[in-house]
């Protein structure tokens, strides 16, 4: 990896463009502080450098707002910050430059009342009707309880994009869907069966996670992080704990890192199996659905026997893990993997030879690599459209820095590709679990906690099963959390669903959606 040479070039470029940045070193990354009026210009120069827009969030500190954006290139993360006065909180939008920043800025606009000048679409996003337009939940003068109405009214007058013309019609779907899935609203414009436009309207499961995080202890924050998105409990808990540990200056024991690796890869395998079954089910290939749900169940049962929880919630705690792996457990895990490999190869060859499945999945829901790059698409969705980025590989952290492994990348960009990339990721994950177990040597599984200095902040970045997870933490005095912002990969992946369904038929929407499988909860917070 060509280290961080590009940051030097980029800084010089910034200087010649008269964009001033002050560099402040943080435990995990470098903080670049800039003037708010340079916010957009920075993004323009960053785009020229091919930097990826990663995340954006704000924080209310006394009478000012800290506005943050995170960028990445070649595995090096840069945290950009501008400070604006709370009396007139505004700065130029980055969403014009990076479409990935679009919804994030709308969230910040709703939650803080910060105006992103020139934003291409400044309609409300997270706000429905639970709080009024001119009040902002993440400001310090807004109480956790707020002043909600007895019954919160539905958000009936959201200005959806309209379609006109003969034969064009609308299909509103949700928030309560027909299946056992999370709530959200999809507005289709169609002609005949063809989808002309899709607009997503999320925010239904907004639970105030960022607000209720404030004032928590590290243990309590880890529990909350583990519930940002229930299918990614390991990923989010790990990212949040990593951020807290870095802020506190704690190194976790090597054994704990290996066990975290096993947990994260087990989570990946479980979710991929569930999704692969569901994708097949959405095109009425029930054989695969039954087989995959059966294998997933066996996998979760081993989670329960070995780790004490089927979905692995609350196993990662600040400083390490609370579950050790006995010799017997390791043997069980290894045995399971041998069996799973055998079964998967039988099932996948049956799946591969099935022409009806091929008919439905090939070319459907195509996401062009250029579009995936422009939106900063992550995880298996990105990797099926040529985006190879994987935190485990590009910005390696323990235990991934000790092992060799493959990150599968394809450029086919369709549902079939997102299906097969998952299969390859399962195989890679199984190998990783075996390697981590082989590396285990006796030792502690938790490091003693140290209360961080008030104001310490850090970014915890890990590769969850859906892709890169970014967790920002800042501590107050007395071991209390001042700010927690978790950026689930879904936040960047949801927008491309609106693109990849175009020119597909309405009945293929469920399988298109499943092939992406964004988290509603992780995105609504």
């Amino acid at each position: 990896m060509s280290s961080s040479n590009w940051t030097v070039d980029f800084l010089n470029q910034l200087i010649s463009a008269a964009v001033t940045v002050e560099q402040i070193s943080l435990p995990s990354t470098t903080l670049w502080q800039t003037e708010s009026n340079h916010w957009q210009q920075f993004a323009e120069l960053a785009l020229q450098q091919n930097m990826r827009w990663v995340a954006g969030w704000a924080e209310h500190v006394q009478d000012r707002f800290f506005i943050n954006a995170c960028f990445e290139k070649q595995g090096v993360y840069v945290l950009l910050r501008a400070i604006v006065n709370a009396a007139k909180p505004e700065l130029p939008s980055q969403a014009i430059v990076y479409p990935a920043a679009n919804r994030s800025e709308r969230h910040t606009q709703d939650m803080f009342g910060i105006n992103f000048i020139g934003h291409p679409d400044n309609r409300r996003w997270t706000r429905h009707k639970a709080w009024p337009k001119h009040s902002h939940p993440l400001r310090k003068d807004f109480s956790v309880q707020g002043t909600p109405d007895e019954i919160t009214q539905p958000d009936m007058d959201y200005p959806f994009v309209k379609a006109h013309g003969t034969g064009a019609y609308e299909i509103p779907v949700g928030p309560v869907h027909a299946g056992i899935i999370e709530p959200g609203h999809f507005r289709f414009q169609a002609v005949g069966e063809l989808i002309l436009n899709l607009e997503e309207r999320l925010g239904y499961v907004h639970k105030g996670i960022e607000k209720i995080a404030e004032g928590r202890s590290p243990e309590s924050l880890a529990r909350l992080a583990g519930r940002v998105s229930g299918d990614t409990t390991v990923g989010h808990a790990w990212a949040a704990c990593k951020a807290m540990e870095q802020a506190a200056g704690i190194d976790i024991p090597p054994r704990a890192a290996l066990i975290r690796g096993v947990l994260a890869e087990r989570e990946r395998v479980a979710n991929h199996m569930g999704d692969m079954g569901a994708i097949c089910n959405d095109v009425a290939f029930v054989f695969a659905q039954m087989q995959f749900t059966r294998l997933r169940e066996l996998w979760l049962r081993t989670n329960a026997t070995v780790f004490g929880h089927r979905l692995l919630m609350d196993r990662i705690i600040p400083g390490g893990v609370n579950c050790d792996l006995s010799e017997e457990s390791c043997a069980k895990i290894k045995q399971d993997i041998i069996q799973l490999r055998k079964e998967l190869s039988e099932i996948m060859s049956a799946v591969d030879l099935n022409s009806s499945l091929e008919d439905r999945l090939f070319t459907a829901g195509y996401l062009a690599p250029e579009l995936a790059a422009a939106f900063g698409t992550l995880g298996y969705v990105g990797r099926a459209s040529g985006q190879s980025f994987d935190v485990r590989k590009n910005a390696p952290y323990a235990p991934y820095d000790q092992v060799a492994f493959k990150v599968p990348v394809e450029t086919q960009g369709d549902i079939a590709s997102r299906f097969w990339v998952r299969n390859k990721e399962i195989n890679a994950a199984l190998k990783l679990i075996e390697k981590f177990i082989a590396l285990l040597s006796p030792g502690d599984i938790i490091s003693p906690w140290k209360t961080p200095v008030a104001g310490s902040e850090s970014l915890g970045i890990v590769e969850g099963w859906r892709g890169e997870i970014v967790s920002y933490i800042r501590f107050d005095a007395d071991n209390k959390i001042a700010r927690f912002y978790p950026r689930d990969p879904s936040i960047l992946n949801w927008p491309v669903l609106e693109k990849l369904v175009l020119d597909n038929i309405v009945p293929d929407f469920p399988v298109c959606n499943k092939s992406l499988n964004g988290s509603y909860s992780g995105s609504d917070l």
Binding site: H128, K129, A130, W131, P137, F142, S143, V144, Q145, G146, T147, P148, T152, Q153, P154, P175, V176, A178, G179, I180, I181, E182, P183, G203, Y204, V205, H206, K207, G208, I209, K211, I212, L224, R227, V228, S229, G230, D231, G274, F287, M290, Q291, T293, R294, R296, E297, L300, A304, R310, L311, E346, I347, S349, A350, L353, N354, S519, Y520, S521, D524
Partner: protein
């Protein structure tokens, strides 16, 4: 196709047998209305699942009820796509304020007699999220609840027992 059949045949039937929950277990599950249910349903119930703000963990385990190990349909319990076809609403999550009206409307759309099962710690008591500007907390703060199945998330076994408790023993 041959490979497919071979796999089906070699997999065999993995579905497990379950005993209906005992009286003390029913009490634990908070089922007080079983008698009425016994009267109203003869052997089958239709369930509409509503995620009213969950983290999606509960949904994963509810899904598992349809896998071949639990295969809950064999007990006459099936999931339907509309509240208008449902006897029972299975509600997860703390009720987010943004879902409050949707939940109320779903409840209204369910024909009488109807029962509400609150699934998971969040639905039972607000869980990790509690009551806030964004969350109404427990489901019972929004609609009447008949049965609670605690757990974070409840295992398929706990769900199974809770639901079988609704049916004739």
């Amino acid at each position: 196709m041959l490979r497919l059949f071979k796999k089906v045949l070699t997999t065999g039937v993995v579905t497990e047998s379950f005993k209906p929950p005992k009286d003390d277990e029913l009490e634990q599950l908070g089922i007080e209305i079983k008698r009425h249910l016994d009267k109203n349903f003869s052997g089958s119930i239709a369930i509409r699942e509503v995620d009213a703000g969950s983290c999606n963990g509960c949904e994963l385990e509810i899904h598992a009820l349809n896998n071949p190990f639990y295969d809950i349909e064999r007990f006459g319990i099936h999931f339907v796509a509309s509240p208008r076809h449902a006897d029972v609403l299975l509600v997860t999550g703390p009720v987010s304020r943004h879902m409050q009206t949707a939940l109320l409307r779903t409840y209204e759309a369910t024909p009488n007699p109807k029962w509400v099962v609150a699934v998971g710690d969040c639905a039972v008591c607000g869980g990790e999220f509690g009551i806030s500007y964004a969350s109404c907390g427990a489901v019972s703060n929004v609609i009447p609840v008949d049965v609670v199945i605690p757990g974070c998330p409840p295992t398929p076994l706990a769900l199974m027992k809770g639901l079988l408790g609704l049916m004739k023993g």
